[in-house]
């Protein structure tokens, strides 16, 4: 009875992880399959790197990847700057004019259905074109602007949470020791929120790198991001070179995430043991 109960939660967990990872595993396995019918294993000719080689010669995918990389990098950098400003103002300025609006505008994009964000941004760009003559045509620029506008919120939230988590008196102490507000920000606040900035940057990068819906609305002819290319390919069914591409991307991201998590964990452990040691020394 008790043994059965003790197994209940772990087996639920195992089931959950199987559900999360089996599709990814099958994606990876079939990327080495020789058959064009992605899901039928061609034992005679597999495993093969054929689709990886084809991928390297697929100019459409490569140029889309280059475009996406550029957009995502630019987006993440701009979003971190704007989002840090917004998060800092919300966490540290107390009451100021426009606070309510800023707070609402930083949280709204997080819950707004993508389809509405995409539609409204497209209508904005069309209106701007009519009124100002810019943007003359939609493409990389409009996609980047659209991505920044929703990424800012994520960075602002992360920065705000980080600032809420550390003691306000650190900044006051710096002021008290003679540092002016701008110096306090540079020498105390910025180093302390650096981890939040990094995760905000990575999050913004990923959001942009993955976005299909909003990009589709605001993109113009001839400016297809990588997710847009993949989307139009897989709408027609499975295709083995997408599997190869997916495998590359997933491996890359997984290595990064696992590596950084383990690094953080080790650092945390070292910090913990140093703190314990400091207490016993006394």
């Amino acid at each position: 009875m008790n043994a059965r109960r003790a197994l209940l939660l772990p087996s639920a967990l195992a089931l959950g992880y199987a559900f999360l990872y089996l599709p990814i595993v099958s994606l990876i396995v079939f990327s080495f399959n020789a058959s064009r019918l992605v899901t039928v294993w061609d034992a005679a000719h597999s495993p093969t790197l054929r689709w990886y080689v084809e991928l390297l010669h697929n100019d459409q995918i490569l140029s889309a990847a280059r475009l996406s990389l550029g957009i995502a990098t630019l987006n993440a950098t701009a979003a971190v700057i704007l989002g840090t400003a917004a998060g800092f103002a919300l966490a540290r300025f107390g009451r100021f004019r426009g606070r309510g609006l800023l707070s609402a505008l930083t949280t709204a994009p997080l819950v707004m259905p993508e389809i509405i964000t995409g539609l409204s941004l497209l209508l904005l760009f069309i209106s701007m074109q009519q009124l100002l003559g810019w943007p003359a045509r939609r493409g990389a620029a409009t996609i980047t602007l659209a991505h920044i506008s929703f990424s800012v919120s994520y960075v602002a939230i992360v920065v705000q949470a980080r600032l809420a988590g550390f003691d306000h008196s650190l900044e006051e102490a710096a002021l008290d020791l003679g540092a002016r507000p701008a110096q306090v920000f540079r020498r105390i606040t910025l180093p302390l929120i650096a981890p939040a900035l990094l995760s905000g940057w990575l999050l913004s990068f990923t959001l942009s790198w993955d976005d299909v819906v909003i990009s589709q609305f605001v993109a113009g002819p001839g400016s297809s991001t990588l997710p847009m290319v993949i989307f139009s390919k897989v709408r027609l069914g499975v295709s083995p070179d997408v599997n190869a591409l997916a495998t590359l991307l997933i491996t890359l991201v997984a290595a990064g995430v696992v590596g950084s998590t383990l690094w953080l964990q080790r650092r945390e452990q070292r910090r913990g043991s140093e703190m314990r040691q400091a207490v016993t020394e006394e």
Partner: protein, 305 residues
């Protein structure tokens, strides 16, 4: 500490404050608030065959007079044409159903992680978050390979002689459920875990000490205490699921469209901007209550942090 420099600094700092809050505020107003107002405006305009394909709201009727043409026809159309109502109801149903499935699957997972050995929690959590960092689109795509008629699951079932004909799973509502549950599971597990992890283990010991069996202790202690976590998880899954576009496009039936797809079709294929805009507004109104609830929860979390 005399001379011109400190005063200059102070001036810059006062300006700096206004800049720091003003620039993001300006940006978000331009790229979020104004676009939304444009959608609202167009939803009240009359469609016509021109560029742009809608009539202006404000019309100059004389030298000093303006007329406002508030056109409610678009909203009346939404109410009268069963196509729109159907897809709205279908979207809500699918979102609610898949949210429930997410909860039923996610709750035991979150509980198991929260009760795991502290040293292992990091790793278990990372395994939940990891898929979130990898491409959403590619993960949904993976399910096509699993679910299609000659896909992995059908192959497996046929070779085990459990079925004799391949099951039709792709392009069905079932596949949409699977896709949504799969994609949004981390959004359910993470807030639940954050809540469950904070529970005081001695509460359960106290309940056991007072004679409650584990299942009863769970129902009377753990479950009620995890209310806020359940709320957050449910809202975080339900809200985006209603407007979901990619998953039904790849896995869903062709004759039953979710609302996101209908908006897109109205806009791009029928070039009916006013109807698309009105639909977007209706969708947002439907989601308003859950969004407000979620915001309230967020604010409380931030305040307690």
């Amino acid at each position: 500490m005399t001379g011109g420099r400190p005063r200059l600094w102070e001036l810059l700092e006062r300006r700096g404050r206004a800049l720091v809050s003003g620039i993001p505020l300006g940006w978000l107003s331009l790229f979020f608030l104004i676009p939304f107002l444009i959608v609202l405006k167009i939803s009240f305009s009359e469609a016509r065959l021109a560029m742009p394909p809608y009539a202006p709201l404000l019309v100059r009727t004389g030298a000093h007079t303006l007329a406002i043409h508030m056109h409610l026809e678009n909203y009346r159309l939404l109410a009268s044409d069963p196509l729109y109502l159907d897809s709205l109801l279908y979207s809500l149903r699918v979102a609610a159903g898949s949210t429930l499935c997410c909860l039923l699957l996610g709750y035991p997972m979150a509980l198991a992680i929260a009760r795991a050995h502290p040293a292992r929690r990091h790793l278990l959590l990372m395994a939940i978050i990891l898929p979130f960092w990898t491409s959403f689109l590619l993960r949904v795509y993976a399910w096509i390979g699993l679910l299609q008629d000659n896909g992995v699951i059908n192959h497996l079932l046929l070779s085990l002689h459990l079925i004799h004909q391949p099951l039709v799973m792709v392009n069905t509502t079932f596949a949409v459920y699977v896709g949504i549950v799969y994609s949004y599971l981390p959004f359910m597990v993470l807030p639940l875990y954050a809540n469950l992890e904070k529970h005081d283990a001695t509460l359960l010991e106290a309940a056991a000490d007072l004679g409650a069996r584990p299942w009863r202790a769970f129902c009377r202690i753990t479950l009620p205490l995890s209310g806020p976590g359940i709320m957050a998880g449910v809202l975080l899954v339900f809200i985006p699921a209603v407007g979901e576009f990619v998953i039904p496009s790849l896995l869903g039936p062709a004759n039953q469209l979710m609302i996101g797809r209908v908006v897109s079709n109205e806009f791009f294929e029928n070039r009916d901007w006013p109807t698309a805009s009105a639909l977007a507004i209706v969708l947002l109104l439907l989601l308003l209550a859950p969004i407000v609830l979620l915001q309230r929860y967020r604010r409380r979390e931030l305040a307690s942090a």
